[in-house]
Amino acid sequence: MSLVAQIQVRVGELDLSVEFEAAPGETIAVLGPNGAGKTTLVRALAGLQPIDSGRIVLDERVLDERVLDQPSGASKEIFVPPEKRDAGVLFQDLALFPHMSALANVAFALEAGGVPKREAERRALALLGSLAIGSVSGARPVSLSGGEAQRVALARALVREPRMLLLDEPLSSLDASTRSNTRATLREVLEGFNGVRIIVTHDLADVVALASRVLVLESGAITHHGSIQEVLANPSSDYVRHLVSQNPNI
């Protein structure tokens, strides 16, 4: 089980061009400043943004492929829509459905796959319980605290047991005290998840706490790649040099 991604896509001003592989059981952090293309990368992997060229392969299965055959000019195209990709996505702003309870939000993912409502709710409730938020299962997203909403969204992304977990800035919306608490939960969840794990962040603390490998993404391109120690020891861009100077302890 692994992910092979060669992605070229242009969205507005951004020209994203990245190549990397990810093995199951390792957590890759994609670190970069705002506008570097982190969210676009997540959207491309999830199938919400078809790529212009390249290919995305998960566990030998081609999810997205667009290759221009130079001699003939013909192009080969494969596109697996998002609902068939087996990717669990935690969106930056969570995107919990506002008209459904926490429980219904999680059960939705199972019902979408044809699980009967009662069975879906039973499994959703069990998962919420294991994340210690069973007590808020009946609440609408608007009345959840930041940390609770985060866990509900996490449960929703995990409940279908996807093969790939994509976390887009999972902690950026939380205040400092909730963040360290939720980071610990996230670490447990990631350790219990066997598929490919990608976490997008601009916070070095997330990388250190959660990831085994880091890709630094700047202006749509990967500028550094390796373990966090390697990257910080050999900074080759102002962005990473700045990170080093801001975090002298790491």
């Binding site: 999830a46 609902e83 969106f91 995107a95 506002p98 008209h99 939705f108 979408a112």
Partner: protein
């Protein structure tokens, strides 16, 4: 909440008083709208209101109006909701032109709309010949009433629903797709429930407009009791012969409009903003 109230108070104290001319003219404007309604209330024969509203003529007009306006609203919804979706979500050349065209019934004089509908569906109209061969006659039937009402009501529905679709955050639909939901499942479980308030507003506005339709109906559908004489037509006709019934029916129409507007107040104002 509290800080907002305090802020309001502070604001009020500091705001420069409005110009007197503006205040006077604003009061005149409010009066201008309210006066006909007040005058109408004065003219209502309250003691006979119920019996006026249950005369055979009134009842037949009310029954026809109710049936036709609901059918017209349904027709406008079937055609208007998909159009609103296309206008809100699909980028294509001439989108601005199409949107303008859909608003046409809002500004075109209803009588002219009626003439246009006659030219299209009338016996000698563009489609009339074909319809005639198929044995379908539209003019001077309740179907003509429904078409005329749907024509004038469509823009209200499209405007409200398009604004509603635009206000739905695409992230919800994106998130639902990644959770394994097909497009139709997303439409059913995410888009339509989130759209419900706007859809209800659009339906109510379209229905109120259909209910009050006069010009296009009398031109295109005629004025036949029990077949095409809706409440507004009956009001116009009865104003000479039995003014009390005409006024009672007018009061009913005004009341319905007020109820719809009050029910929609928040939405309607939100849409304008």
């Amino acid at each position: 909440m509290k800080s907002g109230e305090v802020g309001k108070k502070v604001n009020r104290r500091r705001v420069e008083p409005p110009s007197r001319i503006a205040v006077v003219l604003s009061l005149l404007a409010v009066l201008f709208v309210a006066l006909p309604v007040i005058a109408l209330l004065r003219d209502v024969a309250w003691s006979r209101l119920i019996s006026d509203l249950t005369t055979p003529e009134a009842r037949s007009a009310l029954r026809l109006s109710l049936l036709c306006s609901i059918s017209a609203t349904a027709l406008a919804a079937v055609l208007g909701v998909p159009l609103a979706w296309v206008l809100a979500r699909v980028e294509f050349r001439g989108r601005g032109f199409v949107r303008g065209l859909v608003l046409l019934p809002l500004v075109v004089p209803p009588v002219v709309a009626g003439v246009g509908l006659l030219a299209a569906f009338g016996r000698n109209g563009m489609l009339g010949g074909t319809l005639n061969m198929l044995g379908i006659r539209i003019t001077f039937t309740p179907i003509a009433v429904v078409i005329a009402e749907a024509f004038v009501a469509l823009p209200f529905l499209v405007l409200a629903v398009e604004a509603g679709i635009r206000s739905i955050d695409r992230r919800y639909e994106d998130a639902a797709r990644t959770l394994g939901a097909s497009r139709s499942f997303v439409t059913r479980r995410i888009t339509l429930p989130l759209l419900a308030p706007s859809l209800a507003a659009g339906l109510a506005l379209a229905w109120a407009r259909a209910l009050g339709e006069f010009g296009a109906t009398i031109t295109f559908a005629g004025n036949i009791q029990g077949r095409t004489r809706t409440v507004p037509l009956a009001v116009y006709l009865l104003l000479d012969s039995s003014p009390d019934v005409a006024i009672a029916l007018s009061l009913l129409l005004v009341s319905i409009c007020v109820v719809v507007l009050v029910a929609l107040r928040a939405r309607w104002i939100g849409a304008i903003r």
